[in-house]
Assembly symmetry: C2
Homo-oligomer: 177 residues x 2
């Protein structure tokens, strides 16, 4: 099987990307500690052409050396904004018509394979701090919550990996609908 | 919504995990440069209870400081083996009845959302070097190849993120079948 050359990948330039219609998913990084994880979120958001990233609380913002290390340039293409508090984020998302969807291990969570993406769905996927998880403020404001089912000794996926899995779950359905 | 406590996660101990039936997916790391990516592959393999990991060529092996950093203990639970050459890996997988499935941007690749997992499918998911991609030896030996569709300026997902996305695609179908 022949691998594609760089030229054949049809990569968009930054201007074309900015004008392109995005998949209606917003990534919310709720007090994420590692700037490397933030950079990775930018890279994945660019790949899947998601709407934007909201950085909350202590989450690092570009320009930042460690973000650049894992974003490999995606901070130039991806739209992002910073908000200090969860309350600001909730108001913004409700105003914009986005559904709050924390990714968390919770008592009433929906297991990812059971979560059916609706054709007109606009979602804000909320990823929490590496240790504390998603803030209780977001958990209280959300009507649903997604959990990635796990079967091992750790029950802990890296946040960058989780962002990839969950984003793909939505993008897959959105490109098939 | 109430977050679960650590106790409620029902994490398996290492012995119970080792005895548990695994999802029939093998992760092949083909000359992966970053030991941090190797550790992340262990963590994801544990979470999704995949069969085993095969480390090929220059790919780092446990015990290794950087692998431990991202595996957070999953090197204790996950089965793995090292093989020097692609040829050894191919013989082993064919003997074991596993289908070779490189994850690569190739001329005849199947886009991930089009790839239908069969009920009796046993797959070896092959992830290549961060720069060079999957070795041509594997590409030539494989009858099919999966590509994660991308829509941005980079057309490049981190290997740890790709392992999460692809593993979940198979595990989702396997738990639903």
């Amino acid at each position: 099987m022949r691998k594609l050359s760089l030229k054949e990948l049809n990569r968009l330039d930054v201007d074309s990307y900015k004008q392109k219609q995005k998949h209606p998913c917003i990534i919310v990084l709720d007090n994420v500690r590692s700037a490397l994880n933030v950079g990775s979120a930018f890279r994945t958001t660019d790949s899947f052409a998601l709407e934007e990233i909201i950085l909350v609380g202590i989450t690092a913002q570009p320009p930042h050396r460690e973000i650049s290390k894992t974003a490999i340039g995606a901070t130039e293409s991806v739209s992002w904004k910073y908000m200090q508090t969860e309350a600001e984020v909730i108001d913004y998302l409700i105003e914009k018509g986005y559904k709050l969807l924390p990714i968390e291990q919770a008592a009433e969570s929906t297991s990812l394979e059971q979560y059916e993406v609706q054709s007109d769905e606009k979602v804000a996927l909320i990823f929490g701090n590496e240790v504390k998880g998603v803030s209780q403020t977001f958990m209280d404001a959300a009507e649903d919550c997604i959990e990635i089912p796990q079967f091992g000794t750790k029950h802990s996926l890296n946040i960058s990996v989780s962002i990839g899995i969950i984003s793909w779950h939505f993008v897959e359905k959105m490109i098939k609908i």
